[in-house]
Amino acid sequence: MGNCLKRSTTDDISLLRGSDSIREASSDPVGLPSYQEALSVQVPPPLYHPSPSVTRSVTQLTEEEQIKIAKRIGLIQHLPTGKYDGCKKIRECVICMGEFMVGDALRYLPCMHTYHMTCIDDWLMRSLTCPSCMEPVDAALLTSYETN
């Protein structure tokens, strides 16, 4: 009989799949699982946000949106990260409104605003702006390259 296991997509989404540090991509099982397994391990495709209020499954992104998101992922990975060392200058992540704890993973934006890495990455995947000062992160990054 016919093959009941539908391939999720034929589009080339390798750029998006390569972003496992930002968003885990579901790994394709090797070989065809049995029907029962296929039902139980079915993982919904990852969701992306071409703009803050738009949510789309990876299979529904237009080519333009795929490129936009791939660029975003590349840019986010160039932003410096670190661990909170208890410094008194910064105390709270304005996204989750939680206090920084020693050892928390942080990300620093070019405008010098600092957030939990998981909090800010979630936002930057929707909009490349700093939530506190609304400065576009990509433009600020270019300026900082030019002045250095």
Binding site: P52, S53, T55, V94, I95, C96, M97, W123, P131, M134
Partner: protein, 154 residues
């Protein structure tokens, strides 16, 4: 939805800080909000020495699981909807931070303060010029109103 989802945790923190230090003219029923953290009713008082002095209003906030990455859905509810050029008679509010200019650094408190200041700066009480048409044709959810995004004339 687990008890400790990030949106719930953040909403809970916001609630605690609003109970502790409510901004002037803003009050809420904490017990009611505890029942459902994703739906808040806030009481607003018109600021002194403004056109809305002595009036009180109710704001409704609806949050999604993606809050604070998604903006809340904010409308005026109840009997008394303020008469203001940015407020439709069905309670929908034309305010860019509720859609395009939303940022996860904003909060219930900052949205309330923006709305109080929007009311306070009003010079003449009137409904938006397209009120009748808008109210008849709009979606229930004000965030679905596309043309707000281009409206910066009023």
């Amino acid at each position: 939805m687990t008890e400790r989802s990030p949106s719930k945790r953040r909403l809970h923190r916001e609630l605690l800080s609003l109970i502790k230090e409510p901004p002037p003219g803003v009050s809420l029923d904490a017990e009611q909000i505890e029942q459902n953290l994703f739906l808040w009713t806030i009481h607003l008082e018109g600021a002194e020495r403004t056109l809305y002095e002595g009036e009180s209003f109710q704001l409704q906030f609806k949050f999604s699981d993606n809050y604070p990455f998604d903006s809340p859905e904010v409308i005026f509810t109840g009997e008394h909807i303020p008469i203001h050029p940015h407020v439709y008679s069905n309670g929908h509010i034309c305010l860019s931070i509720l859609t395009d200019d939303w940022s996860p650094a904003l909060s219930v408190q900052s949205v309330c303060l923006s709305i109080v200041s929007m009311l306070s700066s009003c010079k003449e009480k009137q409904r938006p010029p397209d009120n009748a048409f808008y109210v008849k044709t709009c979606n229930k959810n004000p965030k679905k109103t596309k043309w707000w995004y281009h409206d910066d004339s009023v």
